[in-house]
Amino acid sequence: MWGRKARLSTAVLAAGSLLGLSACGGGGDAETAEPDAWVLNGGVWTVVEEDFEAWNEENPEQSFTVESFANDIYKDRIRTAVGSGEAPTLIVGWTGGGLLEYVEGDYVTDITEETAELRERLIDSVVANGEVDGTTYAVPMNNVQPVMMYYNQEVFDEAGIEVPTDWDELLEAVEVFQDQGVHPFSLAGGSLWPMLMWASYLTDRIGGPEAFEAVVAGEPEAWSHPAIIEAMERIQELVDAGAFDPGFASVVADNNEDAHLVADGLSAMVLQGSWVYSRLLEESPDFMESGNLGVTTFPSIPGGAGDPESIVGNPANFWSVSANATQEEQQAGIDYLSEWLFNDDYVDGMLATGNIPPLTGLEDKIAETEDPEFLDFAYGMVQDAPNFQLSWDQAVDPSQERALLENLGQVFEGSITPEEFAENMNATQPSD
């Protein structure tokens, strides 16, 4: 007879177990002298892990423990880890509003002097993202990640049309593919952030970089900028025209499904980051060998104020050194950054897997690779761009990130109007 008490405590335990969520923190243990680093998985991150293995072999006394995470999970966990003083020695970041908060809370260290030599070898516009008020708190650690339009040439050949270069051609292409029963664009709407690529490219093409700069500067009504409203209108125009795979809300980016739809010929195009290329090399080698994957820039918008050469994306991922790590750990992190990062093997490994390091003067090295076409295109894209807009979710204040993603999701679903989007987002602007 395990009556009342036992059953009651079962119920209380079940109810209490959810509270465990808030108690679980990060992985790194600040007490030990063992430096660690958290990385993401797939694509370029395999090269990063190999680079750490090589470092560990040569520097056994400063050997790093490396743990890898799926992108979306990492973003949720790193903040809790940093906030609770359990951050790994080397912290991967996207700069923007997140880095600003780390700096304000003294969670990361000043590495201006230690990385001066490294920064000289890197592209200035990329390096600049790691600086706050002239002090360097983060340095680029992997590939430049502009967002570009990927397409399947075979699908275009079957439809008998050319790859669209402006908005009108884009709408025509949508209609043709609709008739053919091919999704014009795949979209990983389940992950939400791929929708930002549409919003930020459209805003930039319509109104130039100023529209979003006002948002980042914290201006109160910044989201009501006509360029942002028009971008949302065009997004809904595309959705209504059937431009996206109708199941987009259940496609997730972590398993690269949006790109695979293009590789498998089910979608004609996808707007995604440069990392997709290296993941496809790994995951769909047959398609990549067929030579049917094409890349191009986001279409121009007739009458738009933005420069059609401007790009959107992540300048790179950045390393910061955790201020909560022990002296020995911090030293190991700094040694890795100043003596080891972007060594020849690392750079060659990145190029071989279709990733471009943010180094200056890479043209010769790219020409020597097996498949210079894509690398050449992406490298040129980054160097020619008059403006490189950091991904919106990383650029805004972290408290706005989730609201931005959810409201944009609702714009794509058609459940709110562009004006309601602006209104909801204006309400989240930091008030100080």
């Binding site: 119920a11 465990g20 808030s22 109708p246 199941g247 499904e257 459940s415």
Partner: protein, 282 residues
Amino acid sequence: MALPAVLFFGIFALIPLFGVVVISFMEWNVLGSPSWVGLSNWQAVLFDRPFTWTALGLTITFVIGSYLFQAPVALLLGVFMAGQQRYRALLAVLYFLPLLFSSVAVGLTFQSLFSPNYGLSAALPFDWLPNDWLSNSDLVMWVMIFVVGWCFVPFHGLLYQAGVRQIPQSMYEAATIDGAGRVRQFFSITIPQLRYTIITSSTLMLVGSLTYFDLIFVLTGGQPANAVRILPLDMYVTGFSSYNLGYASVIAVILVAIGLTLSLLLNIISGSSKMESDKAGA
């Protein structure tokens, strides 16, 4: 002898619970130190945030839907597994399988099965089959109730199997002599004899689905249109994606309150004062 249990309960349930109550009166964005804001989190979550009530409604749908799906299936499965049919042992092992898988693995597998382009609907030649299982905001709640039920039915089936096996065979023999058929026997002997098993299993099902998180998070993250963002998921998203631990703690405390009320209610309804054995010879 109760000391280890009390300690365990205190460390893993009461202290975190107390912490959450404290944080519910603070503003904290994970970074930096929390600051007192009095009742403003409570005010905001309960009165200025309509989604709290939407999430509560979704939670109630999810709890009731899960119960209506899991309870009958588990009961019938348990009764079947307790029997003597051919291949019963083999089938029992198969039914038991979902219990062995980690929920993340189950989630990722179902995600592939429900994929509109690569999943079941694309593979099967039935045009009437919807292919927007997870992206249709009217459908996704029922899909989640099914998947979560799929995971938990075996466990409750096991409880019922054990319960049925304890019913004395003599009761059925007597009923057979009196001319009762199988259906009559099921309703007049099996169900009443399983009363305590039903209460235990119902409590676990109701409170379990009230606080359920893993599969919904892995499969949907609450999308589309927040159509399955039930309170536990809402708590997680608010706390760890929107970095608002104050609001998240308020939601957590609300959940605890509902959970406790629910289990107390179940206790009263099931008549805890009459909790004594009515088994033959006991």
